[in-house]
Amino acid sequence: MITAERKPLEEIIACVAPFRKVLLVGCNECVTVCAAGGRKEVGLLASGLHMALLQQGKSVEIREHTLERQCDPEYVEELNSLIDGADAVLSMACGCGVQTIAGRYKDKPVFPAVNTKFMGASERQGVWAERCQGCGNCLLGQTGGICPIARCAKRLMNGPCGGSTKGSCEIDPDTDCAWQLIWDRLKALGLTENYVEMIPAKDWRTSIGNGPRKIIREDLAE
């Protein structure tokens, strides 16, 4: 899923303070799961903003609404009845959701209330970690199901570097060395000969090297 973290309150206040009526919009998908921008966080942020703004002697009317999926235009239509009453939109969705709203309501300023972080998985309660950088040509089959692009600090496709120490990455003892993990998995799978093959230079066109990417499914596209 896509993970996010709420921005500091002061930064959010600076965005909304010039407006009288703000529509605060959450999302029921990833940001709900990582507890950054779901219905609950929308409520918490609304009351936090109220209090802080009151203390500053300002009054901003905040309307709350949480969409099923903010990156989906179909669901964003739900805001039609609320948008006219708002001077600005504050979105708690990931960057994709924020942009869907900006694209739909061209004359409304929209501000992000969260920092979108990475594609990750839950490691344990309250901990999420990066797992994929969407390179567009997945190597996991060769690397024992561990991603060297998202999880090696140097994106080495033929690691480990000379800094790998007792299972940890050279940058930080609390970060696993991806290549130690890959090696352990290849051993467990009896696939150590995979390691000997050099993974050739990556074609980054499937990734960030070729401008904004798009998927067009002819069978589904209207």
Binding site: A153, K154, R155, L156, M157, N158, G159, P160, C161, G162, G163, S164, T165, K166, G167, E170, I171, D172, C177, W179, Q180, W183, Y195, V196, M198, I199, P200, A201, K202, W204
Partner: protein, 307 residues
Amino acid sequence: MKTDSKLEKILAAGHLAVTGECGPPRGCMPDKVREKAKYLEGVVDAVNITDNQTAMVRMSSFAASVIVKQEGLNPLLQMVSRDRNRLSMQADIIGAYSLGIDTMLCLSGDHTRFGDHPMALNVHDLDSIQMIKMVKDMRDEGKFQGGAEIKGAPKMFIGAAANPFADPFELRVMRLAKKINAGADFIQTQCIFNVPKFEQWMEGVRKMGLHKKTYILAGVTPMKSVGAARFMQKRVPGMDVPQELVDRMASVPKEEQAEEGVKICVETIQRLKQVEGVSGFHIMAIEWEEKVPEICERAGLLPRPQV
């Protein structure tokens, strides 16, 4: 002979090669480079010019290599994949070769987190092994990495690094094999303090016959003080400084520690000379270049052979 590199000639003739290191200054001080080069003249066969080492901005390896070349020494251009993409790498390789630089070392580089620009983006378009392959294809196939033909291909003698002390140990020989398959003509190792562990690694290297496919230069570093020894032991990732060496440095008075460090370095070289498959030494006297002539002298590495 694959190249005109002096280092290749020395190694091919069966001599023990000696390389040194010069870290370029953090500013426009070409005289600093000349001064460091002077200490190494006639003492080493090639001088590694580091590339933004420890992720701190310095005079470029390319520019400092040119200065060293003008002084009559043989620069060994280091290149890290951290700071440039494949276009920039190939452009620099062609430029360097056009100015008479024919020997290089392909590295991934320390992470930016360790340097003075931790906010910078790490490039890593290629990793060090893919870089080796690119330089080899430029030389042997006359092809750019993108596939087009090069008119006037650079003939680089290609080096790579190996760290026998990093984890997982069992992978370290295999990773060396990968670098050799990619095209590494010679290897410079991480500083060796733990000689038994290095010998164990070399045993694995010999078992796979890798010492016959590449030249292995054993890396050594003289310790200036017990403080430096402790720093390397505790703070430098992938460095293995045995406690007994730290204790030995601590056992002599402060003003004699530098001499003790040099003594340990010379003893290490003598021991490593006995290890089958070691083709030479890479002496990394960091900010202590003036000691290299003495170390080489005492280790019986002088005079350097003429080839």
